[in-house]
């Protein structure tokens, strides 16, 4: 049995046609199921656990990167197979997973090509897409082997799991991050000044890692899958093969 978790933004009129077409396609494939609409205060973990107890086998997230991160970060430990139907703007993870945006995603879902995904873990919380620390005075220790610090001032840290980190270097080379390479990728950018509108950054340093400790003399903000908290020391680790996911043939890993 399939359970479809619809994000709240899909109520907007401009998505009506896409959603209708998707539902028709899913019915044609014989994989239509119960629809649950996620409201602001809905706990996705609770919903998923209830539905699994009622006999559901597959949980399908319908929405964008935000929906995907929000649902999976809270329910990564549940024993369900997850699917994803990307709709609308802000869909970068779908591209990594090889799932086309819109109605064609139903074809991928029907094929049920399953892969176990690695997820990030920090201070007893999972994160699926990205962890972000805005420019702060931090020191990073990798795999208990070496320490990285900026020569001067603050630095920004981005840890990528599924969401790609877009950055063009001087040769306009794009860097693509793979969720299934058995490592997390950390991008460190030291802040070297400030322009009128925003901070200026140096080209990033990239370190693939399995475990890292980030510490600061003062508390620094940490944003993981849209949730912000203040921490003084965090341990980031890779939880290998934690989530079973239906992916497309064109996936990037």
């Amino acid at each position: 049995m399939y359970i479809y978790l619809y994000d709240n933004f899909l109520k907007q009129k401009r998505y009506d046609a896409t959603i209708k077409a998707m539902e028709t396609r899913l019915t044609d494939f014989g994989i239509a199921g119960k629809i649950v609409r996620l409201q602001t205060f809905t706990d996705p973990k609770e919903v998923i656990l209830q539905e699994l107890a009622r006999g559901a086998s597959s949980i399908v997230i319908v929405g964008n990167d935000k929906t995907f991160g929000y649902v999976l970060s809270q329910s990564a430990t549940s024993a369900a197979t997850f699917g994803f139907l990307p709709v609308g703007d802000g869909n970068t993870i779908a591209h990594v997973l090889g799932i086309p945006v819109g109605v064609d995603a139903c074809d991928v879902l029907s094929r049920r090509r399953k892969v176990k995904l690695d997820v990030g873990w920090f201070n007893n919380r999972y994160f699926i897409s990205q962890l972000h620390i805005p420019p702060s005075e931090i020191v990073v220790e990798y795999d208990e082997q070496f320490q990285v610090s900026p020569r001067y001032g603050k630095m920004e840290l981005v840890v990528c799991n599924l969401q790609p980190f877009f950055w063009n270097d001087s040769k306009q080379k794009k860097i693509i991050v793979h969720p299934q390479d058995g490592k997390l990728e950390a991008f460190l950018r030291p802040a070297i000044g400030r322009s009128i509108l925003r901070e200026k950054f140096e080209e990033p340093s990239i370190f693939p890692f399995e475990e890292m400790v980030v510490s600061g003399k003062e508390a620094f903000p940490v944003e993981a899958d849209g949730k912000v908290s203040k921490e003084i020391k965090i341990k980031i680790r890779l939880a290998k093969k934690k989530v079973e996911m239906i992916v497309g043939k064109e996936r990037k890993f």
């Binding site: 094929r111 610090s149 390479d181 080209e203 990033p204």
Partner: protein, 168 residues
Amino acid sequence: MFTKKPSDPTSYVAPETQLERREEDTVETVVGPSMNVEGDFVSEGNVVVKGTVAGSVKTNKSLTIEQGAKVIASVRAANVVVSGQVKGNIRAKEKLEITSSAQILGDMQCSVLMIEAGALIQGKVEMAGIQIDVPKGERKSNSLRSKIARVGKPDEESVSSEQITEMI
């Protein structure tokens, strides 16, 4: 009649093309220009150093030390390209390339060595596979010459001119 089992959709094996693509896209480890790395820096992929590294650097693939980078560490990699400053021993399993802007203070070990004009180096170079056969006659005359040379030195035990003629 219907004995043929349908293929399991879950048992998916990645085709060769996908494996190849994975190889191509591997993210490199990059140490940025204003970054300090301290400790044992171990990596499995290609490493590019633009900042400062102190301790040791090890990788199974290639290591590039760019111009302006400072490495105060022992270095071990399959291929090493040096354009910056290195203080420490370099051990390249295959090729060691030293460009004109490089400054190296330490011993080097490699199979293939390339040095551009202008590079500053102070250290010993060791390369495996040297086979220089010395012909027999040359070996004899060499030993004789060394004995004669010893005669000329005042500190060594004295050898008379008669002994020399005997030797000849």
